[in-house]
Symmetry: C2
Subunit: 311 residues, 2 copies
């Protein structure tokens, strides 16, 4: 199967307690696409400026990502974001956001991108997300992200868009904000009731949880002693999750569970280096080795307790 | 095997968004002992005042907890704590603390309590904990708790005591405070290096993690839509953990993992009602049914990904 992602392609300037970079490749579609490319065929839909160089295109090429639908605006500049992470690596402080060519982003999907069976709507204006979703009537599984900015400024549009997809992948604060429910369990159920098959709630250093009609599943985070740069971790998670589903072409609870773990595996690599550096250099052996570690971290034998065993 | 717990027995006054109680049975040794009693023989060591009535003793009796080492100071009053939980049920606001007879608590262990193979030192002054530990030279597995107050006011004594036990069960903030390490993984390793076999870090609504020489294990929290009263959840967790280990009389990683889950099971019941009400009324069928739910929440098949599976 193939997977289309629509979202930002960007340059990031990053400052963390571990160092500083003035300009690295970033953006939701970039992080998502790279991560998913280890599992399936990926079409990326986005927009960049004339400042997007061969070095950046090479990253996409190395991973056989189809970039035909990444529009190039030659006179324009690529979306630029600058952020700083302090001691608490969970929260980014935005220093500068220059939308540039992304301000007028109007996703145009080729027939190839439209015909993908799996579709991910990364965080962009919700009405644009809905428009893309409508261009892909035959997609069998569509997931979306959103953010606090859209939930506070365009909640009705966000909810309208949610009603057209199968799955949402958001963080716990966003789930609470969207539903006014302090309990993430109640929040997830309320979001499910908008007509979704699955709700994935990302909880940063605490992992991620999956809600479906029949199942509740918890994937822990990988125990990294140092998170180097958390930028893009959420999109990298989503890329592993959707990429694995697309590769398996199956939406059973068992496959969704493994997709949660592959998403967590990919996110754990992403934060080990700046920008896309770590995922760009990954191989399948490393991915499966870490998947096995997740199994080790969570496995226990299902042996019921019997009182007679007590002395 | 048998299990001795040394700690507070108290009356609590509680206020949560779900209601209010003026006087319920509480205290670390109470919550721990009740929880552990579902798995093993428990000796409780503590002190109460003359105001401790038959209704309270009945709770211990119903669960066959040996109360011979709970000293009764007839002219005195039982330790009293009053707290309020607001919307964020993770943090207790202490309204009133009256140590009463607990102020002069000097644990005296009978031969029976001293001869238990498993020992839990609930949160009391660290030098008292160490004294108890020294009264039980033959205990094969000793665990302790502590709290922020002792870490800030008597850190050296806390560390001295840790060096005499096998396992510590504390929350994430305490682990960070004890080691000045913001990463709980680094903090756990630093605490392990004091000579422990196991470090258990409780993370509230995010579950609990186990560190041993060879293993790292994550138990999620049970997805409760409403936490009614979190008082005693940590001690109830420790009671399930230590009670299960004592019953199995085994300290392998596999048994420790299941002990983590039984601890989480017991804690999840504890918070469903005020004080000891829910655990007091539990049965083994309910405990094993929830254990099975934890298995469902975390299980996935260990099937490595193969790229050839992609379309």
């Amino acid at each position: 199967m193939s997977l289309t992602v629509v979202g930002s392609v960007a340059f990031d300037a990053l400052e963390t307690p571990f160092g500083k970079r003035d300009k690295v490749l970033g953006g939701a579609a970039t992080h998502f696409g790279l991560s998913a490319s280890f599992f399936t065929e990926v079409n990326a839909v986005g927009v960049v400026g004339g400042d997007f160089s061969e070095a950046e295109w090479d990253v996409f090429r190395r991973h056989q990502i189809n970039t035909g639908d990444i529009e190039v605006v030659n006179g324009g500049k690529t979306f630029f974001w600058s952020g700083r992470y302090d001691y608490d690596m969970n929260t980014a402080n935005s220093l500068d956001t220059q939308l540039n060519v992304f301000a007028n982003f109007d996703p145009k999907l080729s027939e190839n991108s439209k015909s993908a069976e799996f579709l991910f709507l990364a965080n962009i204006q919700p009405t644009l997300q809905k428009g893309v979703r409508e261009q892909c009537p035959n997609a069998k599984f569509v997931a979306m992200d959103t953010m606090n900015f859209w939930i506070s400024s365009a909640k009705d549009e966000v909810i309208d868009t949610i009603r057209t997809v199968d799955c949402i992948i958001i963080n716990d604060a966003e789930a609470r904000q969207l539903t006014d429910e302090p309990s993430i369990y109640k929040a997830a159920r309320a979001i499910m009731d908008l007509g979704l098959k699955a709700v994935v709630i990302k909880r940063g250093e605490y992992g991620a949880t999956l809600f479906t009609k029949d199942a509740y599943f918890v994937a822990p985070a990988y125990p990294l002693e140092s998170v180097f740069d958390p930028t893009g971790a959420g999109d990298t998670f989503a890329g592993g999750f959707m990429g694995y589903l697309s590769a398996q072409n199956d939406l059973s609870d068992e496959t969704l569970r493994r997709a949660m773990v592959y998403g967590s595996v990919m996110a754990s690599f992403n934060v080990e280096k700046f920008g896309t550096d770590r995922v760009d250099a990954l191989d399948h052996h490393e991915i499966n080795a870490r998947f096995k570690e997740f199994k080790q971290m969570t496995h226990f034998d299902d042996i019921p307790f019997e009182r007679s065993a007590a002395a």
